[in-house]
């Protein structure tokens, strides 16, 4: 009975959309009947009005573009370094032994603790935010690169060696394709984490970006504006995740075919 009900529910079209509408309705009802003041819990309509207002006057777009720029640059820097270092670690156990303590220790430091230091060292401009983003993206991509490269079956190396493939050919024809599925897993995590990195940087020295908008809303007790900034961050993270997933599907068509 229960299994049948589950199957019936899963067949309902637009289940995700219905879930969002139900969530908004519940939020609206709580805001309406809980008696909470709007500066504690604004109604969805208040947030919508704030969204429209900040969209019309250009504030939202301006700050979103700033944050998006930091996130994209941070991801580029973080992913590039992580894949290069990850590949080197995967190929050299000695290097891994030397660098591992530093890499693991770097992950034990909360990024919020070192963000103010990075701002002092690099100034309050975009550079510090990009670096914070890159640092937060670095580790998951690095780990997945190492795992991905090491997961290549040794038989395939033997095959490549038997046909006298060069190191470049092994890298491009074997290691990269073989490591990509795992690497994309790291990229997906990195895409969402990079948004957090940008916000941490913006919260340390707020001047522009969605982190600043969030802080401004808090400073002005404009909770609706805080919600708008938070939702934009969610959309950014989901958008980036979706782009990575889309690229993954495009790149890994061969994997889907081979699974058929």
């Amino acid at each position: 009975m229960f299994v049948m009900l589950k199957k019936t529910i899963s067949r309902i079209p637009w289940l995700g959309l219905i879930s969002i509408i139900a969530g908004l309705l519940a939020w609206g009802l709580i805001a309406r009947y809980s008696g909470l003041p709007h500066f504690i819990l604004p109604a969805p309509y208040d947030v919508w009005l704030s969204f429209v207002k900040t969209l019309k006057n250009g504030t939202l777009l301006y700050h979103t573009i700033i944050t998006l720029t930091e996130v994209v640059l941070g991801m580029l820097v973080g992913v590039t370094f992580a894949t290069v270092v990850g590949y080197m670690l995967a190929k050299s156990r000695t290097l891994e032994k030397i660098l591992s303590p530093y890499l693991v220790a770097s992950q034990a430091i909360p990024i919020v603790a070192i963000a103010p230091l990075l701002v002092i060292w690099l100034g309050g401009g975009i550079l510090s935010k990009v670096l914070i983003c890159a640092l937060i993206v670095f580790f998951p991509v690095l780990v997945n690169t190492v795992v991905g490269v090491r997961a290549v079956p040794s038989a395939l190396y033997d095959l490549m060696n038997s046909i006298r493939a060069t190191k470049w050919q092994i890298l491009l024809k074997l290691e990269v394709p073989a490591a990509l599925p795992i690497l994309f897993g790291g990229l997906r995590i990195g895409a969402t984490l990079s948004v957090i990195g940008a916000i941490v940087g913006e919260l340390v020295n707020a001047q522009k970006g969605l982190g600043y908008l969030l802080q401004l809303g808090d400073f002005q007790y404009d909770t609706s504006m805080v919600y708008v900034a938070v939702f934009m961050l969610i959309f950014l993270a989901l958008g980036l995740y979706g782009i990575v997933a889309w690229v993954e599907r495009k790149f890994l068509v061969w994997q889907e075919r081979s699974n058929i």
Binding site: I30, Y33, S34, G35, L36, P37, H38, F39, I40, L41, P116, V119, I120, G123, G124, V204, N205, A206, Q207, Y212, Q215, L216, D218, F219, Q220, Y221, D222, T223
Partner: protein, 326 residues
């Protein structure tokens, strides 16, 4: 029930530190437990509170204070929501909060003058606000008392904020100045300039209070608390006024008392800490302790509208009161 649950989540962080203490004390005596959000970390500048507690002024009024060093905006929101009766907050926070419908009321002026300074390297020869034109100024962010103070100073000089470049550097003014990343920074008169001088840096200082009178830090309450418990509001004001008077009269004693409340205070340079305390005292001195200057409120109201932080002037008759000043 639902309201309580959500507010419980909001106040959880603030409450955790004092929960166990509350349970013990409630059974022990009849003192009213008051959790007081301070807006900043434990600091010698809170000496009047420590003195008033230590000398029993709050206890005489039937109050036991539990210091809560959380963010200023959180304290204001909890008072506005009726969850806490009091918080320490700056005057602009009251107007910003009231503009968003929070029924908070400023009941006691602790600082009589706005304690923000512009600190600059001597070679820039900045002697008056007009000298700031065209300069790059580092400040924690485009929010808070530092931002308000700088804007007030710029408006007082007759030029707009666009005539300077404001650079958000986080709460790293001393480090940014010392590293020569910013040779003009905004900070508290009783903190950054003193710390920089103690580290051997020569600095010029422009005090906002020398050019414009603005309302500053004090005790806020809510319309509900004022209506339902006016005696409590009055008691709070009386106790704090005694603490301020005693601290002003004997700063050495206040320092000694503060050692118990401020962790690591004893490890910090005594001369610097005394200078911080004595500079703070300059900002607390008043003909009548706790009294709010209506002109300072009007100036702040006008400034926030000019800065477009509030859409229109706030009704000041509801924003502050001198009714409870002893």
């Amino acid at each position: 029930m639902l309201k309580k649950l959500v507010l419980l989540m909001l106040g959880l962080a603030l409450s955790l530190s004092s929960c166990s203490k509350l349970a013990v004390k409630n059974g022990a005596d009849a003192l009213r437990q008051i959790q007081l959000p301070m807006g900043y970390i434990p600091n010698i500048q809170y000496a009047p509170f420590y003195v008033a507690v230590e000398k029993g002024y709050f206890a005489q009024e039937g109050i036991e204070l539990n210091f809560d060093y959380s963010f200023e905006t959180d304290g204001v929101a909890l008072v506005g929501a009726g969850e806490l009766p009091f918080a320490v907050a700056s005057g602009e926070q009251v107007l910003l909060a009231r503009s968003q419908g929070l029924p908070v009321v400023y009941t006691f002026a602790w600082y009589q003058q706005f304690p923000i300074s512009i600190v600059s390297a001597p070679e820039l020869n900045i002697k008056e606000p007009a000298d700031l034109r065209g300069q790059t100024i580092g400040l924690p962010g485009l929010f808070g008392a530092n931002y308000i103070g700088l804007q007030a100073l710029l408006f007082s000089a007759g030029f707009s904020p666009e005539d300077v470049t404001m650079e958000a550097i986080g709460f790293n003014q001393v480090e940014a100045f010392a590293a020569k990343q910013n040779n003009i920074v905004v900070g508290y008169a009783s903190n950054e300039p003193i710390v920089l001088r103690s580290q051997g840096f020569e600095v010029n200082e422009l005090r906002v209070s020398d050019y414009v009178q603005l309302t500053a830090n004090g005790i806020i309450s809510s319309e509900m608390t004022i209506k339902e418990e006016p005696d409590l509001v009055r008691a709070m004001a009386r106790a704090l006024a005694l603490g301020i008077a005693d601290t002003t009269a004997n700063s050495e004693e206040a320092y000694t008392i503060s050692l118990k409340y401020v962790e690591n205070l004893a490890d910090q340079e005594l001369a610097v800490q005394m200078q911080i305390l004595n500079t703070s005292i300059e900002f607390w001195k008043a003909g009548k302790i706790g009294y709010s200057d209506p002109q300072a409120w009007e100036n702040m109201n006008d400034l926030l509208v000019k800065m477009e932080l509030i859409p229109e002037l706030v009704d000041l008759t509801k924003a502050f009161t001198n009714e409870f000043v002893p």
